[in-house]
């Protein structure tokens, strides 16, 4: 779909890019927006009274509104621009949870979470004496409400999960989980890095308390992301950074007044080009329809799984997942050697543990090859991949 919008394909005629879980290509309108900002109206936001600064200011706040609409938040005050999912997750943990939680409280995650939904909690565990526990996964590495209920105790205060995991690619039943959690006075944090770009994410319908996602995994620039939290919680966030842009006034007498949300949590000059680019990326995704993208990915996924079965010495680890992520290995071949082999044919995939280092306990395999699909991938690309994989007996002739 829409490959003509992506200059990467024009500039790399035979490239097949299957690593969209890592980052995505940018449509021309996103790149143009960033270039326009840097060549036609470079100025800071929220600062000047001159025309180009006001233009930047307006566009920056429009971007916030575009994000609000995209995830159906109640108010644009609930949208904070960050560097990405990692920074958003760290803000949730260290600007809010650190003051909300107490010694002995329990946080539930799974072993399939990305490092940015694991390490901040581990650090908080050391700092506060809270306890990080794991929701057991099913034989297909999924989270179910029953599995969750089995490990919830009266000490459970937070459930923190990826909506879609970046290795297994399962879509978690978030709505059921938030309903149950809220009945039990538990907050729900959602890592949306792999879901927001691919699935309609309605924070009101899903009743999510906190959401983190990145721009660059959804056709936007790198270095920009979003933190969403319900206003009642966001109000309680302590600023991560103090400085310009977040204060209303301060005196030598130490009298200080900070700004209202959202600016209070966006100290310093933000990644303006990134924010404007993200806005364009979202408008672009909306013009295609996120549901259409999801449908396209599911069709491709089904086709990919079917065709991978034609290659006898390949093991697929997540056949029954729902998102456009497929993980596999060639029998007796180290994942990285497979990815180097595919690279020889201009096919980009990811080999490794995908920043999800605990999932090896579940799937019993440390390193895998991951294909992650997006709107611009095609069946023809999958055909080419299969053609190459069928020749995998030649792998060492190619890579050594």
């Amino acid at each position: 779909m829409h490959r003509e919008d992506f200059l990467m394909f024009e500039n790399n005629q035979n490239l097949i890019y299957f690593d969209n879980g890592a980052t995505t290509f940018k449509p021309k309108r996103v790149v143009d927006k960033v270039v326009d900002y840097y060549t036609k109206y470079t100025a800071n936001a929220h600062r000047g009274d001159y025309d180009i600064s006001l233009k930047v200011d307006n566009e920056y706040e429009e971007a916030r509104e575009v994000v609000r609409h995209f995830i159906n938040a109640k108010s644009s005050k609930e949208i904070i621009f960050t560097k990405g999912t990692t920074e958003s997750m760290n803000m949730i943990v260290f600007s809010f949870m650190k003051y909300y939680l107490h010694k002995g409280d329990e946080i539930l995650i799974t072993k399939a979470e990305h490092a940015s939904n694991v390490l901040p909690w581990f650090e908080l565990e050391k700092e506060l004496g809270v306890s990080v526990k794991y929701i057991p996964l099913t034989s297909e590495y999924k989270v179910t409400l029953d599995n969750l209920k089995n490990v919830v105790t009266e000490k459970t205060k937070v459930i923190s999960l990826a909506h879609v995991t970046n290795v297994i690619g399962d879509i978690r039943p978030i709505k059921e989980i938030t309903e149950f959690a809220h009945d039990n006075n538990i907050l729900v944090v959602i890592d949306g890095a792999q879901s927001v770009p691919h699935l309609k994410t309605d924070v009101e319908d899903l009743d999510i308390d906190f959401l983190a996602f990145s721009g660059h995994k959804m056709l936007g620039p790198t270095g920009v992301g979003v933190l969403y939290a319900k206003e009642k919680y966001l109000e309680k966030f302590r600023p991560f950074n103090y400085g310009g842009g977040m204060n209303s006034r301060f005196e030598s007498t130490k009298e200080i007044e900070y700004k209202e949300l959202p600016l209070r949590l966006e100290a310093g000059t933000e990644n303006i080009a990134g924010v404007l680019g993200l806005k364009e990326a979202i408008l672009y995704l909306e013009s295609i329809g996120i549901e259409n993208i999801h449908k396209h990915e599911q069709e491709l996924r089904e086709y990919l799984i079917k065709r991978l079965k034609e290659v006898s010495n390949i093991t697929v680890y997540n056949e029954n997942s729902e998102a456009g992520i497929v993980v596999f290995n060639i029998e007796n071949i180290f994942a990285e050697d497979t990815s180097r082999f595919l690279n020889h044919y201009g096919i980009c995939i990811r080999a490794g543990n995908h920043c999800t280092k605990m999932v090896k306990d579940e799937i019993k395999v440390k390193n895998t090859c991951r294909i992650s699909l997006y709107l611009y991938n095609t069946k023809e690309e999958i055909d080419k991949l299969i053609e190459v994989l069928k020749e995998n007996n030649k792998i060492y002739d190619i890579i050594l």
């Binding site: 007796n332 180290f334 994942a335 990285e336 050697d337 180097r340 080999a351 490794g352 543990n353 440390k366 390193n367 060492y396 002739d397 890579i399 050594l400």
Partner: protein
Amino acid sequence: MDNSLKREIIVDNASNPYHKKKVEDDNFIKANTHNESCIDNIDLYVKIKDGVVIDAYFDGEACAITTSATSIMLRKIIGKSVDDARNIMKEYYKMINEEEYKENMLDELNLYSDISKQASRKKCAILPFQTLEKTFKIYEESK
């Protein structure tokens, strides 16, 4: 040596590596190296007595280059003194960095003489020796 023979020896060492097993014996010095930029991850177990490597094993998951180079390195250094092993290491690094080196000191390790053509694979090829040096340092510090 022609390329297909080279390849055959590398693949043979990658598929059936020499002395690959986990060792749980306190007489062995253990060191780990994982490649920051990729996913190679090996543990090396080396037993040194009176300055001589008397036995060594490795374990872990790594690509064909790292696995085979470790296998070949172990064959080469078992029975050698730490000093001799370090001399081999020096020549090996020279080879990897495309400097003049003493070919006759490296035997099968010469297989990796072309690795410099693939810059990204250099790290895979030196990983076993980096790990070996760690065990030697531990040995020297314990003396």
